[in-house]
């Protein structure tokens, strides 16, 4: 499976500021995803990051608040803009592993970025 790293691992930020989270994969992958996990909650998909095209956002998430870049097949960034305390969460990137059969669509997660907004 792919090895995924994220930076920063954690951060404490002031409201109104922005934070950019980086996700690096050790192999080329087609699909990368960004999730949010609020304290004690499940994972909610923010958007799918596609190389060479605009990210696809889920209901309730917008590009102005969560701009995403995907410059190549091994890297993506998620920016949390104009932060408020409600944005305090763990942000996780994941990649899809299509396996040998080409259709397994299992996902492997990075270690996450723990964000606290004061």
């Amino acid at each position: 499976s792919a090895v995924i790293s994220q930076k920063p691992s954690r951060d404490i930020c002031q409201r109104g500021t922005s934070l950019t989270i980086q996700c690096q994969v050790d192999s080329q992958v087609t699909m990368m995803f960004w999730y949010r996990q609020q304290p004690g909650q499940s994972l909610t998909l923010i958007a799918t990051a596609n190389q060479g095209s605009e990210a696809t956002y889920e209901s309730g998430f917008v590009i102005d608040k969560f701009p995403i870049s995907r410059p190549n097949l091994t890297f993506s960034t998620l920016t949390v803009s104009n932060m408020s305390p409600e944005d305090s969460s763990i942000y996780l990137c994941s990649v899809e592993d299509r396996g040998q059969g080409g259709n397994t669509d299992t996902q492997y997660f990075g270690p996450g970025t723990r964000l606290t907004v004061l």
């Binding site: 995803f33 499940s42 909610t44 997660f109």
Partner: protein, 114 residues
């Protein structure tokens, strides 16, 4: 939107007891996957079920996929303290608003008392 419901939310067991968590979907799934998240960690892929009625085992863990591909369960036999964590199911729907994406259940938090 399409949802995956998971119960129970919490389960506390004595070491050696069995544990089961259940997931249900309102519509047919293409496949369902199970993940484990240790406290302070990130979700780790355990298994994927694709076929109707499929049963897979990993040591003390048994995973089942319902005949209608709408429900699934994870059963742990004789729990150990290393089983502590949150277990998530995640479904991939056929068509609809969640097509091709993982939709996570709410998770079951398992604690094991030694």
């Amino acid at each position: 939107g399409q949802q995956v419901m998971q119960i129970p939310q919490y389960q506390h067991v004595q070491e050696g007891e069995d544990f089961t968590t259940y997931c249900n979907s309102s519509t047919t799934l293409s496949n369902i996957q199970w993940y484990k998240q240790r406290p302070g960690g990130h979700p780790v892929f355990l298994i994927q079920l694709v076929k109707s009625g499929e049963v897979k085992k990993q040591k003390r863990l048994t995973f089942q996929f319902g005949e209608a591909k709408k429900n699934s369960s994870l059963h742990i036999t004789a729990t150990q303290t290393t089983d502590v964590g949150t277990y998530f199911c995640a479904g991939v729907f056929l068509g609809g608003t969640s097509y091709g994406k993982l939709t996570f259940g709410q998770g079951t938090i398992l604690t094991v008392h030694p």
